[in-house]
Symmetry: C2
Subunit: 202 residues, 2 copies
DNA sequence: TAAACATTCTATAAAACTATAGAATACGCG
DNA sequence: CGCGTATTCTATAGTTTTATAGAATGTTTA
């Protein structure tokens, strides 16, 4: 057993999660065989079970790995009270920059809903909801500060941000020529204008 | 063989496509077994091959079925030259209202990219591109008419509309309590404000 | 160096899945 | 009704896949 949680083990486990993330993202959960994942990290199929008890556990680990520091960054943004515009930009940036950089771990979240053991699924759902609630809180603060129009549906706004960021995240991953920084600017701009109070400045 | 293309055959084929669409949407291409699809429409696994030569062909049919009248409605919108605001609303409505109504055929498009035979994939890509180009054209017209800001990146705008509509489409399907008409209004509003010229009216 | 432990490999059992063939049943029409 | 065709069923061959067991190899440390 991997009792000492040795550095090598940790490192390889990380590699296993990354490999699984990449292959799941490319082929989907069922499309990815354990053979694929193993060979992605340069070991044989059977050896993969040294790191994961099952294929589903691999998926669970990938999902949690993908969302965790994601939520963490959102918490930081929510914590220090900058003006709304700054927070929104930080959110969009956090969401979109990680999409390409932090490999494909996030693309899996369509599958996660389906094939995860109950407990893990709940855990993930909590993290996802937590993320959305943090974002909603930022919008509520924005309304209070007058940076957003008063009748704004903050839940709608938060969902829209997540939705549009995910959509552009996909496009960014799919098309390497896209300039991430530029996309971030434009998405931020679109949202800012779309949610601004009636007679806002440019 | 199904020589006469009898009404019953047509009807059952339609049912088969719908069933496949539903199961693919729920479980993804590889997650869906032919047994699942068959039992979804109330027949046995082997019988499915009376309607599809292979599982991949089923996917192809589902994808084409999903996107066709979609593109067609976009063509209508692009054809009669209404003011930009009307066209945008029509687009958002077409996109979102079909999402729940026209079952799950559209959700599959992540898989399609991966598992489709080359020819079908190209066909689909063409349809998708065509759709986006029509939308881009509408934006370009909107800029010319002064309804949109001059420096608007129409490609970006079109992608964003598609992205946000898809995102909300998913939410609509997943949560039956959501009021589609209300979502349409809000999404349209967000986009309209986000893309409007600098000193626009409410 | 040798013992103890960690990591990977090979081989395989058991299950699931696609696709086909041929039998069985349902349907429409003279 | 009864013939011909359309549709569905059963059974199965042939793959592919997950997961496990035990052997083989690497690595650390005393």
């Amino acid at each position: 057993m991997q009792n000492p949680e040795s550095p090598k083990y940790q490192q390889q486990k990380q590699a296993a999660i990354r490999a699984a993330a990449a292959v799941f993202a490319r082929k989907g959960f069922h499309g990815a065989s354990t053979t694929d994942i193993a060979s992605e990290m340069g070991i044989k199929q059977g050896s993969l079970y040294y790191y994961f008890k099952s294929k589903e556990e691999a998926l669970a680990e990938v999902c949690l790995y993908g969302i965790r520091d994601y939520v963490q960054r959102m918490e930081e943004i929510a914590r220090d009270d900058a003006p709304f515009e700054v927070r929104l930009l930080a959110t969009v940036r956090s969401h979109l920059s990680s999409y390409r950089e932090k490999n494909e771990a996030l693309k899996v979240h369509n599958d996660e809903r389906l094939y995860l053991p109950e407990i893990k699924r709940i855990k993930l759902k909590q993290l996802g909801s937590h993320y959305r609630e943090l974002l909603e809180g930022i919008f509520e603060q924005g309304v209070r500060d007058g940076a957003l129009r008063e009748d704004l549906d903050c839940h709608f706004a938060a969902q829209s941000v997540i939705g549009i960021c995910n959509a552009w995240g996909e496009l960014i991953v799919r098309d390497p020529r896209l300039d991430v920084e530029q996309v971030i600017t434009k998405v931020n701009d679109l949202l800012l204008r779309g949610l601004a109070p009636m007679g806002a400045k440019a």
